[in-house]
Amino acid sequence: MDGTAKKRSGTRLERNDRLVRLALLVVAFSAVSVLLVITVFIVGQGTPIMFRYGLKSFLTGTRWYPSENLFGLWPMIVGSLYVTVGAMVLGVPFGLSCAIVLTEFSSKRLRSIIKPVIELLAGIPSVVYGFMGVVILVPFIRETFGGPGLSVLAAAIILGIMILPTIISISVDALQAVPPTYREGSIALGATKWQTVKMVLLPAARSGIIASIILGMGRAIGETMAVIMIAGNAAKVPGSLLDPVRTLTSNIALEMGYAAGEHRQALFATGVILFIIIMVLNTVANVTASRMKGAKK
């Protein structure tokens, strides 16, 4: 009697376990398959024109006039690069410093105030950032530095602010994951708090901090709405920080609504280029992070 009862409940438990595992697998598969479908579709639509038009003239051509079938992406590639680098130059030092202050130099009460505020920053929609940029930042740049105000500088500043929450929260996690014995050991050897941070904690948290920088960079490259509103969207390589600029993402968003035929394929090709850039960035950063991890060990 006992034996059969145990067998029945054992089978039921096993079945439930299998069902749950199956459900989770289905969900995971659907997420992956969506990504696969997107990739296949974009690459399928975008690559023919890259080779038909000529890869070199597509990537290095400086004139983008779709109505005349001229598809030179170079101004937009440079534009995305400038704007992203500008955002990193602003976002990384501020973000990292904020993370260090939050973990090492602030009281519990200060931390309980600042952390929710930063999480709030992350929740603000990009349209609102763009709106603030147009209403406050662009006139300020125009009146203080000249030019139209809609510029590389405006885009870099707004994007820098947008990636702050990403960099801060992941860096904070990375710093907090450093074992307390590292801190204690360093202080016991007579180092000051800042020396501890600079020479012990930052190297120890390096891979996490690099991860936060990669994610911030990914967000900056992919941001479209805010950039369209404040960057000016001129399809020309910017000559200075104050010149208007168009990024790869803005290019797609501005023209997708009405593009047809070759023009549409050219926009898909822009998407392919974006994919490639992001993959290269992620790979380089991951390799750097793992190499540093290996070297540390």
Binding site: R18, L22, L25, V26, F29, S30, S33, R63, W64, Y65, P66, S67, E68, P75, V134, V138, P139, R142, G147, P148, G149, L150, I228, G232, N233, A234, A235, K236, D243, P244, R246, L254, E255, G257, Y258, A259, A260
Partner: protein, 266 residues
Amino acid sequence: MTRQRFACLFLALAVALLAGCRGGRSKNELTLAGSTSIQPFADKWAEVFMERHPGFAVNVQGGGSSAGIQACKSGACEIGMASRELKADEADLTKIVVARDGLAIIVHPSNPVRGLKVAEVKQIFSGDLAGWQAFGGPDKRITVVTREEGSGTRGAFQELVMGKTRIFSGAITEDSNGTVREIVAHDPAAIGFISLGLVNSQVRALALDGAAANDANILNGSYRLVRPFLFVSRGLPTGLAKEFIDFVLSDEGQTLVREEGLLPIR
């Protein structure tokens, strides 16, 4: 679980997801999409029409003239709105002129320049002239603002002012009349072009070749930047679309047009 069962499940899921994609719209709903120049006026027409015919919904979307024509061709909307003439590869669509509109060249109200020759406007937008000093304005670089390539307003501007010359690539590009107006309203060195019906107290419309930008000068022919507002559809409009267009072309619809600052078709 065996590999075949995985594959079956995967396929089943994909099929289930795709089966959920289905179009379909009720007969009591009408969608117009396209020109941002026509959009505010279409909103007004839709509002009055829906008051007269409760139970019917008329949706107006923007996106630009070319986007509207594409949407109409693909069946995404019943009526496309275009603020430029149709091109050769769009000629298979039925087009109906619902109003006429002037094209205004706008500057900031503080700009001392009151009028320009059309040839000078062409020079500015082709990137040839860099500063307002050449026209008696302040010693500042001209901020040129244009619309995206699919815009009917830009198409009309290209045809009426630029001819074969390209608008230069360093011009700031925005995606609606409203945004262009906003930028010009806040930048003292900016110049742009918008629908004449959308000029308000925030910007000033320049006189062109001596003729001020107003309806009287359009009607007597001295202000030459005029373009038609078109409603396009696949084949002749039927049902709700036909009723709406009949309303727009009626005396009441055209009076509304005049009140809002456009030119009626007659």
